[in-house]
């Protein structure tokens, strides 16, 4: 059923009208219907509630349907601090997610470990999984989150077939 695998094996057909038209249409649809996996751990979860709340409605962008099963989710929103004890779980969830998947680092702790530069905190989740959008702020205002979501939407529109599938996270379990 997955159309992606069929196309990516051939040599991409360059800018042929058929493909780009289809590609643009599919990217347009992916842009406006993210199924969210809220990997919420710390204080940013409060701001994540406010973004999903009535004032700054995440659902306007079609992205507010939280799917807690990684199989059905597209956008992994890492919301809050990731500690070393939590890191293997984050990588496992990322690997379980089905292809076209995107990762959004929500808040300074996810981007770089924030001001917890110590023995317990992972210094930025891009040391574990590839990240598409970084949102600074501790916690970021809902406007910054929607700003980040729009930046991700722009990035999605410019993607090509050959970008997918990305495959599992490039980091290996230590022991």
């Amino acid at each position: 059923m997955g159309i992606t695998t069929a196309f990516s094996t051939e040599e991409p057909l360059g800018g042929s009208v058929v493909l780009t038209k289809l590609e643009a249409a599919i990217n347009w649809s992916r842009k406006y219907s993210f199924f969210l996996y809220p990997f919420a751990t710390a204080c940013c979860a409060m701001e994540f509630m406010a973004v999903g709340g009535p004032r700054y409605d995440l659902d306007r962008f079609g992205a507010a349907l939280p799917r807690f099963s990684p199989r059905q989710a597209d956008l992994l929103m890492v919301v809050g601090t990731i500690t070393h004890k939590q890191a293997p779980i984050l990588v496992k969830v990322y690997n379980q997610m089905t292809e076209p998947k995107w990762v959004m680092a929500f808040g300074v702790c996810a981007v770089s470990g924030g001001f917890y530069d110590n023995y317990a905190t992972v210094q930025g989740i891009d040391t574990l999984i590839p990240v598409d959008v970084y949102i600074p702020g501790c916690p970021p205002r809902p406007e910054m989150v929607l700003d980040g979501l729009m930046k991700l939407q722009e990035k999605v529109t410019k993607e090509k077939w050959s970008d997918w599938p990305r495959g599992p996270a490039p980091v290996k379990m230590k022991c």
């Binding site: 070393h84 890191a87 980091v171 379990m173 022991c175």
Partner: protein, 160 residues
Amino acid sequence: MSTNVTLDKLSRQFPRSVVETHTHRGDATAIVRKDEILAICRFLRDDPELAYDFMMDLTAVDYLGKEPRFEVVYHLYSLSKNQRVRIKARVPEADCTIDSIVSIWVAADWFEREVFDLYGIIFNGHPNLKRLLLYEGFEGHPLRKDYPLKKRQPLIGPLN
């Protein structure tokens, strides 16, 4: 000696093990020897006049450079007398053990596991003394003053 009724009763009851008492900034404090901690706590809880039925907090402090190095601190609260007391027991680094008071207050279970996890003080008689906050493969006890702040032991290696 202070005018605090708890400290008076305590020092009269356990003259040998109560080393010193003071009420700095209004907090009644008693420093005791660590081997009689179980009897003291049971007395504090069961004595009708004191009735300390809440174990509010249990923690440890690392005075690197002083001997004995660690100090386990108990904060108790009496609901009916509306009074607080702080019991401190000094623990040397060489013999880093103290009796567990889980048998007196059930709340102490997790507090002691956390102090063991972060300071390495062993509580004798604790039902399952395992790491609480950190993960199994973590060596060392981070809240000790000699543990470097940024010594990381990641479970899953950083990419770059």
